[in-house]
C-alpha cells in the first residue's frame, strides 16, 4: 500500500502541484496520464476509468472541483484505498484553503506542499485528519474572494436562494478568523439527500432510491462532545422493524469518530467532531417515498414532418417550500430541425432552448413553488419523414433540481446537543436539509 507520486492537474492539463514521494515512476507521468484521459474521451470510449495501467504504472484519479487529483504507483494496491485517499486529500486541502480551485491552489502552494508532506511520507499515508494536521502546518492560507466564485460541491447548494445561511461559512478555512479577530463559534449539520426515481411511460414508479448523508462541519473551540438525535422510529434493515410508518433505511454507515453506544436504544449518535467537513453518517433507502415532482411527457406526430411534445410537471410538496434551479432535459428525434416553444401565459423565470448539436430540449425554471404545476408545449419541425415509432426516437426526460428545507426520507435530526464548557455563550447551530435530484428520469 503505497503511492509513488501525487499531482493535481487543471482541466487543461497544467501541473498545479506535483510531489514525487518515491522516485519510482518517470517524470513524464503527468503528461502520459493527461494524454490518456483526453484520448479516451476523443475515441468515444466515454470517460476514462478512475484506474488504468500504462506501461506498468497504475494511474488513479478523482475529479474534484474541476481539478484532477492523481496518484501513481507500480505496486498492486487497493484501488478503493487510493481513490478514497485522493478524495480525502482534496477535502483536507479544501478545509485549509476554504475553497478548492486552481486560483486558491496557486496562491497557497507552499501550504499545500506542507500538507502533502505531512499526509504522506515515502508513499505511506500518515494522517489525513484536518485536526491533527493543524499542529504540523504553519503557513497561513491566503484567502481568495469567495463571492466571485461559481458554486460547487454539495455544501454550496445552500448558498442559492436561502437567505438563512451565511454564504461565507461554507468557504471558511479551518484557520480563518472572523474579521473582529474572534472566532465565531458555530456548527453545521447538513442532511443532504440525493434521490433517484425512474417513472415508466404511464407515470408509474419503476425504481426509487435515496442516498443520504449527514454532513458535519464544526468550528467549535475546545472540541466539545456532540449528541445528535435522529427519529426514534428509524429502522435499519428489514429485520429491525419499528412499527408502521417508520422510516426504514436499507443500510447505513458511520464516521469513525461516532459512538453508537445508545444508537440501538434511542437513535442518538455521540461524537467529538474533528475539525473540517466530514460525513457523520451515510444511509441508503429504497422504501417507497413520495417523489417531489410528478412528470407527464408526451410526444405525438401531428402531421407530415410535424410533431408535438407536451411536458407537465407538478410539485408535490408543501407550498411553503420552493425548488430551485429546476432543469428539464429531453432528447428529441434526430430529424428535428426546428422547435417552437409555447409556455403557459404569465410564466416567470422560465427559459427554453433547443440544443441543435445534440438535439436536446432544455427547459429551465428558476423557482417552483410547492403545489404548483407547469406545462411546456414544443412544436417540432422534422427534416425528413418518419417510419417507426416516434416514441422510441425521443426521451427519456431527465430532471435536476434542488429543494432546500425538504427531505424525502423523513429522516430528521431531532436535536443537536453540545456539551458546554462555558455558559457564557451559545454556539450557532445550523441544521439544514436539502434534497437534490440525482437521476430523476421519466420514460416516454
Amino acid at each position: 500500500m503505497m503511492i509513488s507520486q501525487f499531482f493535481v492537474l487543471s482541466q487543461r492539463g497544467d501541473n498545479i502541484v506535483f510531489r514525487d514521494y518515491r522516485g519510482e515512476v518517470q517524470k513524464g507521468s503527468a503528461e502520459t496520464f493527461f494524454r490518456k484521459v483526453k484520448f479516451w474521451k476523443e475515441d468515444a470510449e466515454g470517460d476514462a476509468p478512475p484506474v488504468f495501467n500504462v506501461d506498468g504504472v497504475n494511474y488513479f484519479h478523482v475529479k474534484a472541483a474541476g481539478l484532477l487529483f492523481v496518484a501513481t504507483t507500480r505496486v498492486n494496491v487497493s484501488p478503493s484505498l487510493v481513490l478514497g485517499l485522493l478524495q480525502r486529500i482534496a477535502r483536507v486541502i479544501k478545509d485549509y484553503l476554504g475553497v478548492l480551485n486552481e486560483d486558491s491552489f496557486r496562491k497557497n502552494f507552499v501550504l499545500v506542499y506542507e500538507l502533502l508532506d505531512e499526509m504522506i511520507d515515502f508513499g505511506y499515508v500518515q494522517t489525513t485528519s484536518t485536526e491533527l494536521l493543524k499542529s504540523y502546518v504553519f503557513n497561513e492560507p491566503i484567502m481568495i474572494d469567495a463571492a466571485r466564485l461559481p458554486p460547487m460541491g454539495p455544501a454550496s447548494i445552500f448558498m442559492q436562494g436561502t437567505k438563512r445561511m451565511p454564504g461565507t461559512a461554507i468557504t471558511k478555512s479551518v484557520f480563518a478568523n472572523e474579521s473582529g479577530g474572534k472566532k465565531r463559534e458555530e456548527i453545521f449539520v447538513d442532511v443532504i439527500e440525493k434521490i433517484s426515481v425512474t417513472f415508466n411511460s404511464s407515470g408509474f414508479i419503476l425504481t426509487s432510491e435515496i442516498d443520504g448523508t449527514i454532513q458535519m462541519k464544526s468550528y467549535l473551540t475546545g472540541n466539545p462532545e456532540i449528541r445528535l438525535a435522529l427519529n426514534e422510529d428509524l429502522s435499519i434493515g428489514t429485520s429491525d422493524y419499528r412499527g408502521s410508518g417508520a422510516v426504514i433505511l436499507d443500510d447505513c454507515n458511520f464516521h469513525e469518530s461516532v459512538h453508537l453506544d445508545s444508537f440501538d436504544v434511542d437513535r442518538t449518535l455521540s461524537l467529538v467532531p474533528p475539525d473540517g467537513e466530514f460525513p457523520v453518517m451515510n444511509y441508503r433507502m429504497t422504501q417507497p417515498f413520495k417523489p417531489p415532482f410528478r412528470i407527464n411527457a408526451l410526444i405525438e406526430e401531428t402531421g407530415p414532418l410535424k410533431a408535438e411534445v407536451t411536458i407537465k410537471i407538478r410539485a408535490e410538496f408543501n407550498s411553503s417550500i420552493n425548488a430551485n434551479t429546476v432543469l428539464v432535459q429531453m432528447p428529441l428525434p434526430t430529424s428535428t430541425a426546428r422547435v417552437n416553444f409555447e409556455l403557459e401565459p404569465g410564466a416567470v423565470g422560465h427559459t427554453t432552448d433547443f440544443k441543435e448539436t445534440n438535439k436536446r430540449l432544455e427547459w429551465g425554471i428558476k423557482k417552483v413553488v410547492g403545489g404548483s404545476e407547469h406545462t411546456l408545449r414544443a412544436k417540432l419541425t422534422l427534416s425528413h419523414e418518419f417510419h417507426g415509432n416516434i416514441m422510441k426516437e425521443a426521451g427519456p426526460l431527465s430532471m435536476t433540481f434542488t429543494i432546500p428545507m425538504y427531505n424525502a426520507s423523513r429522516l430528521q435530526v431531532k436535536y443537536l446537543q453540545i456539551a458546554k464548557k462555558s455558559k457564557a455563550h451559545n454556539p450557532y447551530r445550523w441544521v439544514r436539509y436539502v434534497t437534490q435530484a440525482n437521476s430523476y428520469v421519466a420514460r416516454l
Binding site: 500500500m1 501541473n15 466515454g46 503557513n139 469513525e256
Partner: protein, 838 residues
C-alpha cells in the same frame, strides 16, 4: 518535488528569468547575516519567491549556498521552506548537499520535537548515497525519541535509508529495532509505519536472506495478529487497512478463532471508508473459505454495506466497489439476484460505472428476474449514449445465451433489428448469429427478419460477417441468399475486412452445396478472388477449398457442411485458475483489471500482497500435457468450428503459437481435419516427425507428441508422460545437491520467442521435459523443469534462468542418478537450442 513541466503563464507577481534569480541571490546574501528585527519576515517573502520559482520550473539551484546561509533561524515556516528547497535540489548537487548536513544534524537535536522530526525527514530525503553515514546516528536516536512524531518520521526514514543503501540499514540492525517498536510502541501510527516498512524491507531481502523470509512469515503469526487486532480501533482508517490485509493472510487454528475474529471486526463493515469495508470483507471471505455454510452467510452479511458504498461514495469509489461486486457475483451469482435494481444505470453516471453495471446485470440475471432486466436493458438500447447502447444490446445477448427460456429475449432482439439505427442493427445481427448457434430452433423466426435486412445497410465488419454467416448457413431458407452472396462477391475488392472476406468464402461454399446451380457462378468468382487475395489467410482458405473440391466434392461437403450440434456453452474467456488467483488478490487492482497481478506488475513491485520466490508459489504452473488435452479438445469441438476466428483469437494467448506460425488469425476449419491427420501418425510411430510438431504448435493444442525428435538421439531416453507434483519437486529440490551447473547461449530467435514463455514450455514438453513452475523478473526468466527416465523412476530437476538481454541461460541440474546428469544436460541443451528455430 519535481518542477512542473508547464512554464507558461507565470502570474505577474512571480518573477521569471535570470535577472530575478541574481536579484534574489543578492537580497538573500544581504539578509543572511542580519540580526535586525523583522528579518524573518523579509526572509519569508524571499523564500516564498524562491519556492514559487522552483514550482513553475525555473532553476534556482544557484541559490543553494545563500539559502543554506539563511537557514540559521528559529522560524519554523522558514525552516520548512528551506527543507523543501534542499530536498528538491540535493540530489542534483551532492557536494552542495554536504553543506546542509551540518544544520540538519543540528536541527535533529533541537528542543522542539517538530523541528527534530522535520529535520530528520529532510535528512533522509536527500537521497545522496555518499551521505548515508550521516543518517545512521540521527535515525538511531530518532527511533528512541520520546516524541511519537519523531519516531514516526524515523521509522519511514529507516525505509528510505534502506532504499539508498540496504547494507547500511541492515548493518545498523534497524529492522530488529523496528520489529521491537512494532510490538511495543504506544503510538499506533508508529506501529503501522513499522509494519509497512518491515514488510517492504523483508520482502525485498527475502530473495537473498532466509532469515528475512522467515521474519516476513512471522508477521502472520498468532501473537502479532492478535496484538494488532486488539488495538485495531486505535489505528487510523488507512492503517486499519494495512492491518486487515495482514489478517486476511492469517490462518487460524480452529473455527472458534475464526468466529472471534469476525465478531471483533464486524463493526468495521459499518465504516464510512470503503477501503476499510473492502479490507474487512476480504478477511471474512478468506477466513471462511473452508466453511461453506458460513461463507454463504458472509456473502449475505457483506451485501448491504457494499451496496451502500456503491451509492454513497463518489463515482470513482463506486467503480472500485462495483468491480469487487462483479467478482463476487461471478462466484456466487445468486447473492444479488433480488437486488438487481441496484445495478440499473442512471443517466448521469460516468460510462465506466455504467459499463460495470451492465456487466453486473448480465451476471445476476436468472429465471426469476430476466424479464425485468431485459426490459430495462432494452430502454438503454435506444439511449443517446451510443457506446452504452451497444453494450446494452450485447448484455441482452449474453443473457440470452446463458438462459434456458429465451422466447421473450429473441422477440426483443428481433425488434432491435427493425429499429433502423445502424449501430443497433449491427450489434443485434452479431447477437442473432450467436443465438442461432446455440438455439437453432429459432432459425425460422430470425431468418424471416434477417432476410429483410439489406446487406448494403450493414457496414461494420463484425455485423457484416454475421449476416454473411447466416446467409451461408440458412441459404436453403432465404430465397435470395445466392444472389445476395453473388453481389457481395462482385464487390470483393471493396471489402476491406479480411474477416468478412473469409466468411464470404465459407458462406458461398455452404450455399453451393445447398443450391448448386444458383451458386456455381458466385463460387467460381469467390475462389478466384480469394486465390488472388493479398491477405494470407484468405488466400490459404480459398486454396484449401479449391483443393478440397478438386479432391472430392463429397468430402468437401462433409467438411464445410457437417451435421452440426448446437453449441451448449460458449467458452469462458478466463479459466478458473485465473479467477481464483484474482479472488486471492481481493481488494487490489487485480480485481479492477480482471487480471492476476503477475500480468501487470514487475516482480519487484508486486509488493507484499502475493508471489514469493518459493517453488510452491511460483506463478504459472503448467500441468503435464495429457491432462490438458481432453479439456481443450472438448472445447474445440464444442465451438462451431466453421466460424470461430474471432472468438478463438480472444481466448487464445496471442503469442502462444510460438514462432512456428505467426499469422494473426487462423481458421479452425483447417485445423480440424489436420488435427485428425496428425494424431494417427503420432500414434503409429511413437516418434513424431518434425512436421507434425509444427502442426502441433500451429494448433496450439498442446497434445503430447511422442519422444524427443533429435536427429541423433543420445543414449538417454526420457519418459514423455512424466508426472511430478509440486510438493515432491520442492522436497527433492531441497534434498538433492546440484550435480551439474552450466551456462549456455540461446539463439536470438529463441530469445525473441520467449515473449510468449508458454511456447518454450510446450517446446520443452515436446522433448519430454516438463515445466513445473516459472516466473519472471525482467530481464530474467526463471523456469523449473523436470524429466524422468523412460525406464525407471529416476528424475532430473532443472533450474533454468534465462537472461533475455545477454541471451545466456544458467542451468542447474539435480538428479537422482548423478552419473547420467551429463547425458541429460546434453539432451536439455540440444532441446533448448532448438527453441525458436523453424
Amino acid at each position: 518535488m519535481a518542477p512542473p513541466q508547464s512554464q507558461r503563464s507565470p502570474s505577474p507577481s512571480q518573477p521569471s528569468g535570470k535577472s530575478e534569480v541574481s536579484d534574489l541571490k543578492l537580497q538573500l546574501r544581504q539578509l543572511a547575516g542580519s540580526r535586525a528585527p523583522g528579518t524573518d519576515d523579509l526572509k519569508r517573502d524571499l523564500f516564498k519567491k524562491v519556492i514559487s520559482n522552483m514550482t513553475i520550473g525555473i532553476d534556482v539551484s544557484s541559490l543553494f549556498g545563500e539559502m543554506v546561509m539563511c537557514s540559521a533561524t528559529s522560524d519554523i515556516v522558514l525552516k520548512k521552506m528551506c527543507y523543501l528547497y534542499v530536498g528538491n535540489y540535493a540530489k542534483g548537487n551532492p557536494e552542495l548537499a554536504l553543506l546542509t548536513i551540518n544544520f540538519l544534524q543540528r536541527d535533529c537535536k533541537d528542543m522542539d520535537p517538530m523541528i527534530r522530526g522535520l529535520a530528520l525527514r529532510s535528512l533522509c530525503t536527500l537521497r545522496v548515497e555518499n551521505l548515508v553515514e550521516y543518517l545512521v546516528g540521527p535515525l538511531g536516536s530518532g527511533l528512541k525519541d520520546n516524541n511519537s512524531y519523531v519516531r514516526m518520521v524515523a521509522v519511514i526514514g529507516v525505509l528510505k535509508l534502506y532504499h539508498i543503501s540496504a547494507s547500511t540499514c541492515i548493518d545498523a540492525d534497524f529492522p530488529a529495532t523496528l520489529k521491537h517498536l512494532m510490538l511495543n510502541d504506544p503510538d499506533t501510527q508508529v506501529v503501522a509505519n513499522c509494519l509497512s516498512a518491515l514488510q517492504e524491507i523483508w520482502t525485498l531481502e527475502s530473495g537473498s536472506s532466509e532469515e528475512a523470509a522467515r521474519e516476513r512469515e512471522a508477521v502472520h503469526s498468532k501473537p502479532v495478529i492478535y496484538y494488532l487486532l486488539n488495538r485495531i480501533k486505535e489505528f487510523s482508517e488507512w492503517s486499519q487497512c494495512v492491518v486487515l490485509e495482514l489478517v486476511a493472510k492469517y490462518v487460524p487454528s480452529d473455527n472458534s478463532e475464526i468466529f472471534d475474529i469476525m465478531n471483533l471486526l464486524e463493526d468495521r463493515l459499518q465504516h464510512a471508508n470503503g477501503a476499510v469495508v473492502l479490507a474487512t470483507t476480504k478477511v471474512f471471505l478468506h477466513l471462511t473459505l473452508s466453511m461453506a455454510d458460513v461463507h454463504q452467510q458472509v456473502y449475505e452479511r457483506i451485501k448491504a454495506p457494499l451496496l451502500t458504498q456503491v451509492s454513497s461514495g463518489s463515482p470513482e469509489q463506486s467503480y472500485a466497489i462495483l468491480s469487487h461486486l462483479h467478482l463476487l457475483v461471478m462466484r456466487a451469482p445468486y447473492i444479488f439476484s433480488s437486488d438487481y435494481k441496484h445495478f440499473y444505470c442512471q443517466y448521469n453516471e460516468p460510462s465506466y460505472v455504467k459499463k460495470l453495471k451492465l456487466e453486473m446485470l448480465t451476471a445476476v440475471a436468472n429465471e426469476s428476474n430476466t424479464y425485468e432486466i431485459v426490459t430495462e436493458l432494452c430502454e438503454y438500447a435506444a439511449n443517446v449514449d451510443i457506446p452504452i447502447a451497444r453494450e446494452s444490446i450485447r448484455a441482452v445477448g449474453k443473457i440470452a445465451l446463458q438462459q434456458y427460456d429465451v422466447n421473450a429475449i429473441v422477440d426483443r432482439l428481433l425488434q432491435f433489428l427493425e429499429m433502423e439505427k445502424d449501430y443497433v442493427t449491427a450489434e443485434a445481427l452479431v447477437l442473432v448469429k450467436d443465438l442461432l448457434r446455440k438455439y437453432p430452433q429459432w432459425s425460422q423466426d430470425c431468418i424471416a427478419v434477417v432476410g429483410n435486412i439489406s446487406s448494403k445497410n450493414v457496414q461494420e465488419p463484425k455485423a457484416k460477417a454475421a449476416l454473411i454467416w447466416m446467409l451461408g448457413e440458412y441459404s436453403q431458407d432465404m430465397n435470395d441468399a445466392p444472389y445476395v452472396l453473388e453481389s457481395l462477391v462482385e464487390n470483393w475488392d471493396e471489402e476491406h475486412s479480411a474477416e468478412v472476406r473469409l466468411h464470404l468464402l465459407t458462406a458461398v461454399m455452404k450455399c453451393f452445396f445447398k443450391r448448386p446451380p444458383e451458386t456455381q457462378k458466385a463460387l467460381g468468382a469467390a475462389l478466384a478472388a480469394g486465390l488472388a487475395d493479398f491477405h494470407q489467410d484468405v488466400h490459404d482458405r480459398a486454396l484449401f477449398y479449391y483443393r478440397l473440391l478438386q479432391y472430392k466434392v463429397s468430402v468437401a461437403e462433409s467438411v464445410v457442411n457437417p451435421p452440426k450440434q448446437a453449441v451448449s456453452v460458449f467458452a469462458d474467456t478466463q479459466n478458473s485458475e485465473v479467477k481464483d488467483r484474482i479472488f486471492d488478490e481481493f481488494n487490489s487492482l487485480s480485481v479492477v483489471y480482471q487480471k492476476p497481478s503477475y500480468m501487470f506488475t514487475d516482480k519487484e513491485h508486486r509488493g507484499i500482497l502475493e508471489f514469493s520466490d518459493e517453488l510452491g508459489n511460483l506463478s504459472i504452473s503448467v500441468e503435464s500435457g495429457d491432462s490438458v488435452v481432453p479439456a481443450q479438445r472438448v472445447e474445440e469441438n464444442d465451438k462451431d468450428l466453421l466460424l470461430s476466428t474471432t472468438e478463438k483469437d480472444e481466448v487464445r494467448d496471442p503469442g502462444s503459437n510460438g514462432s512456428a506460425y505467426n499469422a494473426p488469425s487462423y481458421d479452425a476449419a483447417i485445423s480440424q481435419p489436420l488435427a485428425d491427420l496428425a494424431l494417427p501418425s503420432t500414434g503409429l510411430t511413437g516418434q513424431a516427425p518434425a512436421s507434425s510438431l509444427a502442426i502441433d504448435d500451429l494448433l496450439g493444442l498442446g497434445f503430447p507428441v511422442g519422444t524427443a525428435a533429435t536427429p541423433s538421439p543420445p543414449p538417454l531416453n526420457l519418459n514423455p508422460k512424466a508426472v511430478l507434483d509440486p510438493g515432491t519437486f520442492q522436497q527433492k529440490w531441497r534434498q538433492l545437491p546440484i550435480s551439474l551447473s552450466e551456462e549456455y547461449s540461446l539463439s536470438p530467435q529463441g530469445i525473441v520467442s520467449l515473449t510468449a514463455p508458454n511456447a518454450l514450455l510446450r517446446h520443452m514438453q515436446s522433448h519430454s521435459i516438463q515445466c513445473i513452475a516459472s516466473g519472471r523478473q525482467s530481464p530474467n526468466f526463471k523456469f523449473f523443469f523436470f524429466a524422468q527416465k523412460a525406464d525407471e523412476a529416476s528424475v532430473y530437476l532443472v533450474e533454468c534462468i534465462i537472461n533475455t538481454s545477454s541471451g545466456k541461460s544458467q542451468i542447474n541440474i539435480k538428479a537422482d542418478d548423478q552419473s547420467s546428469s551429463q547425458a541429460f544436460s546434453t539432451l536439455f541443451q540440444s532441446a533448448l537450442s532448438k527453441f525458436g528455430l523453424p
